[in-house]
Symmetry: none
Subunit: 404 residues, 2 copies
């Protein structure tokens, strides 16, 4: 039985409340042989108490050895095997910069590029123009009118942008217009199936208009489109888990993935502190059975190689934690979507420290604090992240017995 069929069959609408607190890129490594990790170095009296009372373990985001991007890593934690459920690149990019991808919409990534007088690409990234320059070009493209299309467009980082195409009977079966090399012209949009032919025509009308408007704006005087994709129509939390689920996150990317699985996104501000995020969780506590709360800067400091900075973020989470504990959730899970060791300055494959605290139902282990090495000997063992939601639901009393 597929995991979701089992969940649909066993979940109840009643039960305790769950908080899933995700410190992005939580897992770390020692900077020098034998030293402590970021989490082990941090002063975390609240998490240590929860770890001592509750149960810890190590979460494998996708599979052993696999370092995931943010999209698959979050899908995994949400219970969707990332090797089965695939979010198209256009959708990830679009939701990552805050666009909304609705049912039937087609999302696509764009790159500004440089072309010569005959349309041949001389630089696929337009000299890596800064984001302000990219934003200026996006404004030139914003009001292109194509019959049968409504278009949302937004700048990404540097020379990147994303678009969401709204319209009837659109298809995402369109090949990339980026030839992946210089010295050749940009490609037209080409339908990869008969149903996509009309969409390809509309996209080519847009590309012609874009070429006209960008012509005098070298180095970003043309653009390419890649990764046409629709909403993957993932099973929704309300359906598979019978949960009213809310998301408290600051970055668009994580709100976007949460929306794809059917969570409601709670309003936040881009510069909210961790403490403010937790206050936001408290403010909507009555409205949800499940709240996913996302903390970004652990990952950012990891990617910066800033070991001490990552420690400070973890300590800020710990200091603010009483706000969540005081809500008396039935289940509080503290984990990461993947590891981002400052030593490696990148997402990694290392299993992620995970803490499950459910005072009425957890089986406590002998672990005394929250850290990578303690988690090795924790009662949750090592598990694939996609199993986490079933554990959360069970500890919240939301799963009935399987079979008689």
């Amino acid at each position: 039985m597929a995991n979701f069929d089992l969940m649909r069959r066993l979940t109840t609408t009643e039960g305790g409340k769950i908080i899933l607190l995700v410190m992005d890129g939580l897992g770390g490594l020692p900077m020098a042989q034998g030293g402590p990790t970021e989490l082990e170095s941090a002063e975390t009296p609240n998490m240590d108490r929860l770890a001592k009372e509750g149960c810890v373990g190590l979460s494998i985001p996708v599979a052993r050895g696999i370092a995931p991007g943010s999209g698959p890593a979050h899908l995994g934690m949400f219970g969707y095997d990332p090797l089965v459920y695939d979010i198209g690149r256009g959708v990830l990019e679009a939701i990552g910069i805050g666009l909304t991808v609705g049912d039937g919409d087609v999302a696509v990534r764009g790159n500004f590029c440089t072309v010569d007088g005959s349309g041949v690409i001389t630089d696929r990234r337009a000299g890596r123009i800064p984001t302000e320059e990219g934003a200026r070009r996006v404004e030139l493209l914003r009001d292109i009118q194509i019959d049968g299309l409504k278009i949302d467009i937004r700048v990404g980082e540097d020379y990147r942008f994303a678009m969401v195409l709204h319209g009837d009977n659109l298809s995402d079966q369109i090949a990339d217009t980026d030839p992946q090399q210089t010295g050749v012209p940009t490609l037209p949009a080409r339908a990869e199936s008969p149903e996509a032919e009309r969409t390809a025509i509309l996209v080519n009308q847009w590309l012609a208009a874009a070429r006209e408007r960008l012509r005098d704006h070298a180095p970003a005087n043309m653009c390419t489109l890649r990764g046409f994709a629709k909403d993957p129509n993932l099973p929704k939390y309300s359906d598979v888990y019978k949960l009213r689920a809310g998301c408290v996150a600051v970055y668009p990317m994580y709100k976007g993935v949460a929306r794809l699985v059917g969570m409601e996104t709670v309003e936040t501000h881009h510069d909210d502190s961790i403490a403010q995020e937790f206050v936001t969780v408290a403010s909507v506590w009555d409205q949800y059975d499940f709240i996913f709360c996302h903390v970004k800067p652990t990952d950012s400091r990891g990617e910066d190689g800033d070991f001490d900075g990552k420690i400070k973020v973890i300590e800020a989470v710990d200091a603010a934690l009483p706000t969540l504990i005081d809500l008396k959730p039935s289940v509080l899970i503290i984990t990461g979507d993947h590891s981002t060791p400052a030593k490696l300055r990148a997402h990694s494959w290392h299993p992620v420290p995970t803490l499950l605290w459910a005072p009425e139902t957890h089986m406590s282990d002998r672990v005394e604090s929250f850290g990578e090495r303690e988690c090795i000997n924790g009662g949750l063992g090592q598990f694939v992240a996609a199993d986490l939601m079933a554990m959360a639901l069970a500890h919240a009393g939301r799963l009935v017995k399987y079979g008689a």
Copy 2:
């Protein structure tokens, strides 16, 4: 997504070098309640240091409770789920005694047997004649000429032999000629599919000639053939892992399995010591990204029930280990293909102590030495052997991130 599809997608041609050192049958058991195992008894200062610095765990060769043969056990370690990828018995037997099975060849196992004057089997194993007697019979069969077949034949142990049939359009869809009982005649080769009919005719011509030549050589005066099989055409290391892979092994069986997954076999001598094998690894170090080095006598001493002998082999490996460490591999894995506890005198299902040392990327645990009980608390946890290659590649920096 199947494991190999994922590996093909994520592997890079650049990255660190990997040594996979396999002590065959490494895992052991205490001889008496509460005592140490072979590995725990051995003085292994080098492995203990690597275990302390690196990360250890327990490898489950196929699945919990399953004691594997050498073929499936090695396939598992190489990343090929042995329950999915099956090497036919004829191929295993042939490569096990040093025959080469090429594309299109058919390999088959043979047993000498005793038949009475009317061809009825009276002993399926020819009185278990010793290997020298088997070898003498094989010489009688060696120059049988069959139009359309070229045949390599070689004696195995006791009454066993193997053959590889070379020719055009051969099929392995041939039923065994061994009726699995005495009191009935040997069976003719029978085609199990129409394409196999020609091959069956050729095999029956060979069997008729063999009967003629063996007639006066009782008790081994006839033979049966079993396990007709072709090269399983396994995905190759160069394809799925993008590795230039070499094998340093002394026994034909392990060279054979390595060749089936696309490793090159480095020349060795049958009586090479462990230290000599490691020197051979060093001598070809520049030519490969990945070297599988196989140590046989741990398994042999285990099968002999020779607890102390197995300890001595492990100590010899440890003493020679600096030769490998001095090569400064990015990743050094020390493991076994399965357990062969001297106490049981046989392959067993017990998870196998495994050490992963990758100084730039490993997450060290709290383990202080290399042994079964220490590995229970290691950071690698318990994992199926087929996941080992993904871990090795990740630690060598040879896997890119999955998804954005």
